[in-house]
């Protein structure tokens, strides 16, 4: 997976033919050619080489599958969560199905938790997208016996996965995996808490435990 010499591209610029490249992000296809859609640098990613046929004296092995085409894409430098802000051009990213996002719980009802999506992948979002974690998406097991009040509280920071584009106002998120769930919580007394098990957080000062759906820390 290496990138070759980067050249600059503007929207509409011809990058190559579809017989030589596969289109990646930032490109589109028109008339069997790959054109750029964004203004940025061109990157070509070589595909992983399939292993060649194993030599066997007594067995006939099939011919190797034809090598995949390299993927060509145009990237704009994004403002990632850890970089400095010295004139770095930012680009808005949209949460897509399958992305892991960080969000803050705004409201809880017995059937769902309303969250505000803050970070998508590595990019801090500018726009305020709202998400919904329904009661059947909180856990993978015992879905009917989930209580939202014992899984999330308003103000918690939650790591979740986008499962659907949702309707006009909300994305649909899920925390039904071990590594998804609450990563940062504040106790009712106002202190920071540390996780003790998959369903408990303990207040560092008072020692009281509170129930949450905890994300696996490692």
């Amino acid at each position: 997976m290496t990138t070759s010499n980067p050249t600059l591209a503007i929207p509409g610029q011809l990058l190559g033919s579809t017989s030589k490249y596969q289109p990646g992000p930032g490109t589109h296809i028109h008339n069997h050619n790959v054109h750029a859609s964004l203004m940025g640098t061109v990157h070509i990613a070589q595909p992983a080489k399939a292993p060649g046929p194993v030599k066997r004296l007594t067995k006939i092995t099939p011919a190797p599958a034809p090598a995949e085409l390299p993927t060509i894409s145009v990237t704009v430098p994004t403002r990632s969560a850890g970089s400095d802000h010295t004139g770095q051009k930012k680009r808005e990213v949209l949460p897509e199905v399958g992305n892991v996002v960080l969000c803050r719980v705004i409201r809880i009802t017995p059937r769902q938790a309303v969250v505000a999506i803050l970070v998508c992948g590595d990019t801090v979002l500018d726009a305020e997208w709202q998400g919904l974690i329904r009661v059947q998406d909180v856990r993978a097991t015992e879905k009917d016996r989930v209580k939202i009040y014992e899984s999330f509280r308003p103000g918690d920071i939650v790591r979740a996965e986008v499962i659907s584009l949702g309707d006009q106002a909300n994305y649909y998120l899920s925390t039904a995996r071990n590594e998804l769930g609450v990563i940062l919580a504040t106790s009712e007394a106002g202190n920071a808490m540390h996780p003790v098990s998959w369903k408990e957080y303990r207040d560092s000062e008072t020692g009281l435990t509170e129930l949450r759906k905890v994300a696996k820390p490692y």
């Binding site: 600059l8 503007i10 929207p11 509409g12 859609s37 964004l38 203004m39 051009k89 808005e92 006009q168």
Partner: protein, 287 residues
Amino acid sequence: MADRRRINGPPGATMAPVFEDDAGQPEIKNGKGRDRAPNVIRKTFLKTGVTPSASGSAYLEFEGSSKSGVSGLKLSCTVHGPRSLPRSSPFSPHIVLSAHVKYAPFATKQRRGYLRDPSERDLGTHLETALRGAIIADRWPKSGVDIIISIIEGDQDRETSKSQGDETWDMMNVLSGCITVASAALADAGIDCVDTVAGGVAALVQDAGEDSTPRIVVDPIPSDHEKVLGACCVAYLPTRDEVTNLWFKGDLPASDAGLYTQLVENGIQASRNANRVLVECLGEATS
């Protein structure tokens, strides 16, 4: 009996200054005319990234000409987005584009109001149509993008020619500038576009003189000519060879049927020239 409770103006009547009327000056339009070849557009300055707080921005200037008495065109464009749509709007699987064009009150000879008037709404609609053909809309579901253009100086001359009283021909130049600057700002904002759109204007003009035949010129300055018979503004995608918006205005003589297509062809040529400026500006911005 002076009123000492308030700060008063000077006592006695005052009169506003009255300037001498320009009509007394000799006709300076004769012999002026257009100083460029018929297929050459005015010099353009285009720069992106001028507004740091917006997702994308661009600034465009067409050079003014003191010989023709035209002030030049100055446009500033900001793009906000893609951002989430308001809660009340229905679900849309593609991006929702909204374009707003506004003249600054001091931009034209006749002072404009602070609220948008129908001509600005018209420009906004044309701009939206031109850009909708270039944006790849389904990469951004549930999002909206706002394009806001401020016209800082309208392309008007200090003394309009006697034969035309309205400024609709200036609007064509303004629209072509709006399309070009919006395209640069969209590329700066990182919104997927099929191609760079640029706007170009071509007009059928008639110069002063008894035996002058109408000719087609590109990027017209209305006061350079005796009469503008018709004009068209074209938004064109050069790589795909497609026109996304065509605005035609005027009265063409019915004798020549091919004049319409000829005018559109020249408009496309003007758009190609403007696109060269756009490509060079974006090339500088990426490097």
